[in-house]
Symmetry: C2
Subunit: 159 residues, 2 copies
């Protein structure tokens, strides 16, 4: 999994602490953690294509969350960056095995493939069950200074 996943999860979370509708330029989002701006920008574009953030140009432009944090799951964010493909690749090995039926789709019929898919689904279910709003609330309970620390750093970067 690319390091971009960690970057955008934290970036999306940080955006939840800004006043609604406030956009942040990609360069400031990168400067927040000292990330390479061009590469983070690529990840932000992927989030935009997935409808997770929206971008506006102009002097008050930048990125903001495109949906309410209750409507953005961790799975949405991960899939926007990594794609929806399963980590396990089924090349339908059974097509080359004894008794193979060329009509059968072994990605469906093969029990090895099914077992790996069940594990993948368990992973997805766990990520789909948690929204950005849940994560935001959990951080606020555990680390109450984080929202103001975050806003203050954004303000300092704007100075």
């Amino acid at each position: 999994m690319s390091e971009g996943v960690e970057w955008v999860l934290h970036t999306c979370l940080n955006l939840t602490w800004l006043p609604a509708g406030q956009a942040v330029p990609a360069a400031k989002l990168a400067a927040f953690y000292g990330l390479p701006a061009a590469y983070l920008n690529k990840q932000l574009q992927a989030l935009a294509r997935a409808g997770i953030v929206s971008s506006a140009s102009g002097p008050r432009g930048g990125f903001r969350l495109a949906r309410n944090p209750e409507k953005i799951t961790l799975l949405d964010v991960v899939v926007a960056i990594e794609g929806a493909d399963q980590a396990f690749r089924c090349e339908q090995l059974l097509r080359r095995g004894p008794g193979a039926d060329p009509e059968v789709d072994y990605r469906q019929a093969c029990l090895v493939s099914q077992a790996m898919r069940r594990a993948d689904l368990a992973w997805r279910r766990e990520l789909a069950d948690q929204t950005l709003a849940d994560l935001k609330a959990a951080v606020e309970r555990r680390y109450p200074a984080t929202p103001s620390n975050t806003v203050n750093r954004f303000v300092a970067l704007r100075a």
Copy 2:
């Protein structure tokens, strides 16, 4: 995930259908599905290091399962090939965030990292809950011809 995972899952399953203790040379295991022998051999060596198969040299040598199929989980096989690292890489981004404490291990403390780890654990749990013996039994129920087809192909390859 490398294609080797698919190869070795099927190869280990096929070994469950051979008479106990019968070893199969790596070249025959590769020929079973027309796989590149040198690359499959590398994967088999990784399984051997993980104690999943054992190898013997000599005219009746080759690979066999080193443990009872009830004692080999799908997770054991996947980890032998892919390593035990989580797919999500936590680079402790929070160390560069506002309010960072250099004493804290953010791989533990960060709630983003925890959420990703929970998903990883759900994936592992699913694979750890299924043994090669379970998979063997499921295949035998669903595809009763598979055990004899498998043995017959091994015999034909030996001819």
